[in-house]
Every structure is written in structure tokens, then in C-alpha cells.
Subunit: 323 residues, 2 copies
């Protein structure tokens, strides 16, 4: 009988459950709205139901599921499978998710932070395939991070490692919502890019001002990237600044970890061509030659599936480690 895995991505908006091969291919995938406003019991019931359905399908298709992995945003006690807290699931405090899932299914279960799972997925079969160590940065609403060393997630002592988005790249920079000033997230997240453009629109001319005619609160990072492609100076300058600080953050990672690779994912990578040369130039100036020639900077390959596939992958690694 062929073996397989179940990968779960439990997000604030959607729950996604997939059957995944031991090589990381997705056989089938279902998505349902999380409905977190209904409370965690409802969400957990939904998750259990979706997993049961996926297990049945795996059985029907002649595969034996050997492990299940769940990716969740937030602080996770990985060994015990407890969700300590989650910014996207506010009522989830100290939820023993691993125990709850194991009660339903007699399967090895791993609960992992979603950014760590995504980093693991990219390392396993994505942009970082074949590497031994990598740092993955997700440039989305915020800036998340995952660190893979010697093929394993580095969690830190409290499961709080890899907060790359909240390393300081400019001590006197703008306020970040985390309380610090000049975090990488302030410059390299979609939110940060939009804020910076808005600040500049107060005193500079831009096509964005005309397109949105006083409704600047409506535009999003995608509009900035589109305007940049048309040559809008404000948009180009903000993306250039973003590239500079992202390069500083990456140079620090290169000098600290000396990794095989730095992988960038998330919506902001839509502006890749506008920022990647600036990033690389900054890394060239700031990092040592041997580690910087080692560390390729690559765009993520797995898109939305990274967390799902990565969660399945860490679960597989956990059962293999016990062989």
C-alpha cells in the first residue's frame, strides 16, 4: 500500500486540508471559510470533519496516511502541540490542538507555526529544494519568517524564533505596531509600503493621487506596484527604499546564519523586478564575500500551498526521525 500525508493550513480566513504524497505532491485539496467568529469549538469541529473526509479519500484511493501536519499562525509549543496564542485566531489561547486531533484519529500529529511550515515546504520541494539551510521571508500584510538549519526548523526556546520582520534595520525609522521603531516589517510589508506612499502623497505628485482622487485610503500595495511599472516616481522611490532595507535585513541574515539560500514569498514579491537588484546591491556591500556568494536570493515557488505542503513535510520528518 502506498503511503501519504495530510497537510492542514489553519488560517484566520480559510481552513485548507490536503492529501500530500511523501514527495510533497498535492493529490487533492479542500478549502472552507474558517468562520473564526463562531468560536474555536466550531472551527475545530470543521477541521476534524475536513480531515476525516481527506482520510477517507486517501483510503479510497489506496493510500495509507502515516502522519498529519497542521500549520497555524501564532506561538506554538511544537513538542506538545499547543497553540499558545494566535494573532489571527484571537480566542485560541493554550489550545492543545495535537491532543484534540489525536483523540479523533490514531495518527502521528505535528502542529507547527505557519511561517515555519512554509519555510520547510520551500526547502523540501520548492525554491530551496536541495539546500541544507535557508531563511524564508514572507512579505505580505506583515513580514513573517522561518529558519531551516541542517534541514530542520529552528524554533527557539519558546517557539518564537525567526521574527525576521521585527529585526531593526533602521533604529530611527517609523513606528512598528510591535512597539519597536524601524523594523524590517515597516519597510518590506504591503502595509508598510502603502503607509509610506500615503505619507509621501501629502507633499509629492503621483498618478496614484489622480487615480484615487482623495480616496487614498482605498489603494493597496498592488496599485503601487502597477503605478511603479508605469514609471510613477513616488511608487518607484518607495519600492527602492523597501529594497534597500530588505537588503540590509538579508545581509544581516547572511552574516549571522551563512545559509544556502534566502527565499522571499508573499504578495510583495509581485514587485520582484523593481526591488531585487537593489536588494542584491545592498547585500553585496554589507555581507562578507563567502557567505554572500553562497546565499542565493530566490522567489518562493509553492505560493499558497507552501504552508500546507510544509506542514505535511514536518509531520513526515517527525515520524521518520523516530524510525
Amino acid at each position: 500500500m502506498r503511503k501519504s500525508l495530510i497537510g492542514v493550513d489553519l488560517g484566520g480566513t480559510n481552513v485548507r486540508v490536503a492529501g500530500v504524497s511523501l514527495q510533497g505532491e498535492v493529490f487533492h485539496r479542500r478549502k472552507e471559510s474558517t468562520e473564526r467568529e463562531c468560536g474555536k469549538e466550531v472551527v475545530i469541529d470543521k477541521l476534524i470533519r475536513m480531515v476525516r473526509r481527506a482520510l477517507e479519500r486517501e483510503k479510497r484511493e489506496g493510500r495509507k496516511v502515516v502522519a498529519l501536519g497542521v500549520g497555524v499562525p501564532g506561538v506554538i509549543l511544537v513538542r506538545r502541540g499547543i497553540i499558545v496564542s494566535s494573532p489571527n485566531l484571537p480566542d485560541w489561547l493554550n489550545v492543545p490542538l495535537k491532543k484534540m486531533i489525536r483523540k479523533e484519529f490514531s495518527l502521528p500529529v505535528v502542529v507547527e507555526n505557519d511561517a515555519n511550515a512554509a519555510a520547510f515546504g520551500e526547502k523540501w520541494i520548492g525554491a530551496g529544494k536541495g539546500s541544507n539551510s535557508l531563511v524564508c521571508l514572507t512579505l505580505g500584510t506583515g513580514v513573517g519568517g522561518g529558519i531551516i538549519l541542517d534541514g530542520r526548523v529552528w524554533h527557539g526556546e519558546d517557539g518564537m524564533a525567526a521574527e525576521v520582520g521585527h529585526t531593526t534595520v533602521n533604529p530611527d525609522g517609523p513606528q512598528c505596531k510591535c512597539g519597536n521603531t524601524g523594523c524590517l516589517e515597516v519597510y518590506a510589508s504591503a502595509t508598510g509600503i502603502v503607509s509610506e506612499v500615503r505619507r509621501r502623497l501629502k507633499r509629492e505628485e503621483s498618478v496614484l493621487k489622480k487615480s484615487f482622487q482623495g480616496r487614498e485610503d482605498l489603494f493597496r500595495a498592488e496599485d503601487v506596484f502597477r503605478a511603479a511599472k508605469k514609471g510613477d516616481r513616488v511608487s518607484l522611490k518607495v519600492i527602492e527604499q523597501m529594497g534597500r532595507y530588505l537588503g540590509i535585513g538579508i545581509a544581516n541574515l547572511v552574516n549571522l546564519f551563512n545559509p544556502d539560500m534566502v527565499v522571499l514569498s508573499g504578495g510583495v514579491t509581485a514587485a520582484w523586478k523593481d526591488f531585487i537588484e537593489i536588494v542584491e546591491e545592498e547585500v553585496r556591500v554589507r555581507a562578507f564575500v563567502i557567505p554572500r556568494e553562497r546565499a542565493k536570493i530566490r522567489k518562493a515557488r509553492l505560493g499558497d500551498n507552501a504552508g500546507l505542503i510544509g506542514a505535511a513535510g514536518v509531520a513526515l520528518q517527525a515520524v521518520r526521525g523516530k524510525d
Copy 2:
């Protein structure tokens, strides 16, 4: 028969060889001047001779040496025991030191970067005893670093990890000798502190100006620390600035690694009382609460012996790992 280790610290100035217990106590220690100007063959002969003598003494005292560790400044290929290059031993290029020592003595040998060895030593029996992960910063002429994760040195893919001194803490800061600007080393090394005081002496009053009467090139970091204790404003301001940037660098380490501990060693820690509160305040503002409450900031305990003891310790770990 009791077992023991040999630890070697091969520096640009001195070669030190010690007999070390499996618990990290130093039984005996010898130091000779490196005389690097005589060339690497002479230095290696000296090292071999000193090791032979230490082995004979161990035998005489009834102990069986089970492993030998050497700490060396520079880039090391740890698995193969090759010194790629060393800033303090300029003619040492691609020297297969492990092979050379093993030819003389039938003993397991480990060659390790000296800052990594010092970090391991502090973790093993020093300020970090009992911890699982720590980052060690040596604030000396430069700023060196060593990273211990899950009880093991993280080397990076080229043995170039842990260059904490060359992470950017102020993108527009002064030039560093590594080519970057605003590295932690520019602020938190003895050299950096002296340079900054000199810059300020051109336009500010200070007791240092009077003490050295136009010979400002003669004073050292120790003089700055002494002047600060007497209330010299320039010295205090420079140490305060040092504390601020050191705090920024440490906050970044705390958010990236979520370690048990950050250990500070080196001559600059003589000014501990003048900077530690500033460092802690900066970390409080910039790092997340869970990892910052975890990560104790401590002064190193092993002094000059850290590298020697740590080299013996990594050698012991290597032979134990093979049991």
C-alpha cells in the same frame, strides 16, 4: 583509568595548551609566544611539541586523553579540520591542521573557530551552563560571535556564521573595516569606542584631552572606561551610544534566535555597569516580550580560558556523538 582532554588555543600572539577534565576543569596550562613571523611550519612544530608535553603529563598523572580540540581565529572547514584563512595568522592558507596533528598522535582531533569555541566553553561550564542555546559576543579589538543551538555550534554552510559584529545596526553609521557602514563592531569594540572618543575630542572638552595632552593616539578603551567612572562626559556619552547599538544588535539576536542566553565577553565588558542598563532598556523596547524575558544577558565567566576549554569541549562532543 580516568579520561581527559587536551585543549589548544592557537592565537596570533600566544599558543596555549591545557589538560582539561571531562567536566571542563583545567588541570594544567602552558603558554608560549606564537612567533607567527617565523612562519607556519615553526608554529606547527611548537604546537605539536606543546601537545606532546601535555599528553606526557596527562599520562604521568594517570589520565587517558580521549580527544584534542584546537581553537583558531579565522575561517575553518570544521569537518575536514582545514584552516582556510586567518586574519591573525596571515600565511595560514588552507592548512590541513587536523591531518597534521593526527599524523603525530593517534587521537580524535577537532579544529574549531576560536569565537565558536569560546561560545561553546561558556555554554558548557561558564555563564551559559545549563542552557540549550546561546549567542556569545566577544567585545574586544573587534566584535566576534559564536552561536550555540541545541547544544551545538552553528557553523553555517561555509563555517562563516555568527558574524554578529558585522550585522548592521545603523545603516548610515561610520565605515567599518569590513567594507560595510554601521556594523555593530564600529560601536561595541574597543577600537570603535576609541575612534568615537577621538572624533569627539576634536570639538568637546574631556579629561582625556588633558591627560594625554595632544597624544590622543596613545589612549585606549581602558582609559575611556576609567574616565567614565570619574564622570567624564565625552566618555560617558560614547559608552551610552555603545550600549544603545549593542542593545539593538542583541534585540535582533533575541527576535531571530529566541535563545536562552546572550553572553558578553572581552575587554569592553570592563565597562559593564556603565552600559548594561542601556542595553537592557534597548532590548526591552525592541524585542518581543516572551523571547526577551527568556534571554538573560550575562557577563562571560571563563575569561581567557574560554577558547581553550571550549575547544576541549567540542572535541569531547565529537567523540561522544560517535559512541
